[in-house]
């Protein structure tokens, strides 16, 4: 489904990703771990199409199509979703109106009519219940004054609404208390299916107790230095990253 081949990316001339290879198939959950500054968030942004980053080598393919010249919005229409590490506050636009716009723009891109208001409301109700989101919350300005946990829950709510094929969750666990983490993880698990895939970007093993990955990759210095099963995460939790860094430099 998603094939990343020898991906190199840089920002302002500084190379951050130095040859990433990763294949994600439908139905899989991949975890990408690694120390700060290893390039995890950059990888997430590059997949989502952030124009600030320049892909200098390699490619990202979704269902065999090279995403190189595809805009962020078109990637979203094709099923890419990024849950932001730091969701942007947009005062003046309510969560509901934002979702209506996002959904109808995606439909428009697919040549569909706007979703009827009734259907939209039903969908919003359904998905907000899934993430135990209060009604009042939906009429608030997008992310404005939200707590860290509310922002992350709102990201997963958006994912639930948009039903992406590949969801990249960038540090969705950071800033969450244990209850919020459980709700968010539960939401992601319910959205998982054999037709979609999830890429979890995280520092800690904690999230992986709730969303169990099929594969764990360790990113260091812009490269995947080790891949394994879910037990690799436990090993990292135990030993930290230093042994991998040494291994990588050898």
């Amino acid at each position: 489904m998603l094939k990343i081949k020898n991906l190199h990316a840089s920002v302002d001339g500084k190379e951050i990703l130095r040859g990433i290879n990763l294949e994600v198939k439908a139905g899989e959950v991949h975890a990408i771990m690694g120390p700060n500054g290893s390039g995890k968030s950059t990888l997430a942004s590059v997949i989502a199409g952030k124009e600030e980053f320049e892909v200098t080598e390699g490619s990202i393919e979704l269902y065999g199509e090279d995403l190189e010249d595809i805009s962020p919005e078109e990637r979203a229409h094709k099923g890419v979703f990024l849950s932001f590490q730091y969701p942007v506050e947009i005062p003046g636009v309510s969560v509901t109106n934002f979702m209506k716009t996002a959904i109808n723009e995606s439909r428009k891109a697919k040549g569909l009519e706007d979703m009827p208001a009734k259907e939209m409301l039903k969908l919003i109700r359904e998905k907000s219940e899934l993430l135990e989101i209060d009604r009042k919350f939906l009429s608030r300005s997008l992310n404005e004054g939200f707590s860290g946990g509310e922002k992350k829950r709102n990201e997963i709510f958006q994912m639930a609404m948009l039903e992406p094929k590949v969801a990249i969750l960038d540090e969705t666990d950071s800033g969450l208390d244990i209850d919020a983490l459980r709700i968010v993880a539960n939401g992601v698990n319910k959205l998982k299916s054999k037709d979609n895939a999830v890429i979890l970007i995280t520092h800690y093993q904690r999230l992986l107790e709730y969303i169990v990955p099929d594969f764990v990759h360790v990113l260091h210095n812009g490269k995947i230095v080790k891949s394994g099963g879910k037990e690799l995460a436990l090993e990292l939790e135990d030993k930290g990253y230093d042994w991998l860094k040494q291994e990588a430099t050898v």
Partner: protein, 427 residues
Amino acid sequence: MAFENNVDVEHPVHDVRTAAIKNFEEKGFPSKKEEAWKYTSLNSLQKIDFSIFPKEENTLEYKDVKRYFIHEIDSYKIVFIDGIYSSYLSETTHDGVDICLMSSALTKPMYKQIIDVYFNKIASKDESLTSLNTAFSREGAYIYIPKNKMPKKPIEILHFSTGNEASLMLQPRNLVVVEENAEVQIIERHQSLTKNEVLTNAVTEIYAAKSAIVDFYKIQNDAATASLIDNTYIDQKDKSVVKVHTFSFGGKLTRNNLNFYQNGEYIDSTMKGVTILGEKQHVDHHTLVHHIEPNCESHQDYKGIYGDSSTGVFNGKIIVDKLAQKTNAFQQNNNILISDKASINTKPQLEIFADDVKCSHGCTIGQLDEEAMFYLRSRGIPEKEARALLMYAFANNVLSSVRIPELKARINKLIAKKLGVNLGFDL
């Protein structure tokens, strides 16, 4: 322009007018040499040979101008065509409140007492364009709300110009007196219906007595050949709340001189504005809040979006007198330039003589937040719509305090039209 020949010596406020014409003759039109007019030139307007009074009356059919009214709501309407009152298009009242004409207020004995107390009292006697209006204004809205009263519906003041003259200068004069604990909502709009040049030099005096509430909305979305110099003077007494919203979406040259004088304690003055310009339009917002007594507040929030070769000015002056302790004065002016050729000059001007005050001011000029753009686009919202959504959001703070829902909806539509998109929802 020869104004002298048109002085009406029989006029009831003749002395006031004589003094005003003298002041104008001495000073003439303000020039760019004056600090307050540094970024707004009236030169090109002065070259036009404006008619001061139209030679003949013109009429309009309601169906042709319907769209300029907030017609969804029931409202009192005071309508002028080329400066002349149109009783046909208007709906005035004397039922408990007076919503009628300046010309009757100035001539009928029953209004004399009010006129003596209020007419030309807060308006500047020094500012030449205000003097010009004082000398030559013939007509305008007269609104008097007695103690504890509130008109049943909002008041719309509409000025249409029909292009009856090749170029026309209008001098409307409004007087709004809101007595103790009374309330009023007013919407004012100037609208040119042709390509002929129009210059409107308007003066509005607003007096808000103790605990009075006044909402004044100015809609400025005029034709490319219409210019407006809008001079508003507001006198507030204890605990009164006055809000002026200015929506500037069009016109050739617009200058807003908005002046608040806080003559009492626990007063709240609010000035909000949304400016969305394109082409070669020019809008200049000059605000003044004079904090004279203690324990008062003022809030200013102006948002501007400038495209094409449009230009904007924001000059916000706050004076806090030595006596005006515990003043809270806030001022915010945020601007987005969406074209390389557009420009904005923004300047806060604070003169604070009291030591126990809270004053904050901030002005920003920027482009749209790229991180926010990426966030919206990553959710499938195309670039153009994302931009529009962010601009909408940017203007939204100002709309949230609009208390007439129909007006809010109208402004929303105007903003959408200005930004060239339809988002399919109201903010």
